[in-house]
Point group: C2
Chain length 103, copies 2
Amino acid sequence: MAEVLPHPERSEIQIESVLQALADPVRLRFVRELAKLGCDGAPCGSIDLPVTKSTRTHHLRILRESGVISVRPEGTSRISTLRRDDLDALYPGLLDSILAAKR
Amino acid sequence: MAEVLPHPERSEIQIESVLQALADPVRLRFVRELAKLGCDGAPCGSIDLPVTKSTRTHHLRILRESGVISVRPEGTSRISTLRRDDLDALYPGLLDSILAAKR
């Protein structure tokens, strides 16, 4: 049976956790890359990050647990998707303003 | 001579630091209260926070050093002001979306 990772429901997402998740340069870079790829998601390893595998796992967990991304197993891989619908519904304009930030 | 506290120039403000500053419930509460007061600023002690004085000082320093607020001495008090113009210019929509967040 495929492993199912816990995700917060939309109603459980909190602004402080979302901001905390996006406040890290490595996580923000990952989210920017994910946003470029659109809504179909990306295999976890396909977005290059300048960190070790265990650090990557740590960052992806924070993004998932805060409600910023969803992660689903697909075969032996994991596919990450930005939860744009949820974030846009909860915090209109937030994600776009962060993604558009030049620095 | 009045003490002058260091503040980042607009060009030095970084999105990660702003998000980090706003990701804390106490700091977010302070910023929300400041936003309600408008642009004239508020004496530091006038916004009630459920923390000790030294913790308040710590939080205000993080907000100031990230570029979210400016703090100026006025007599024996310090006046905090939200740097709305700078934040709105750098990250259009960010502050409004965070201030409007219900949770």
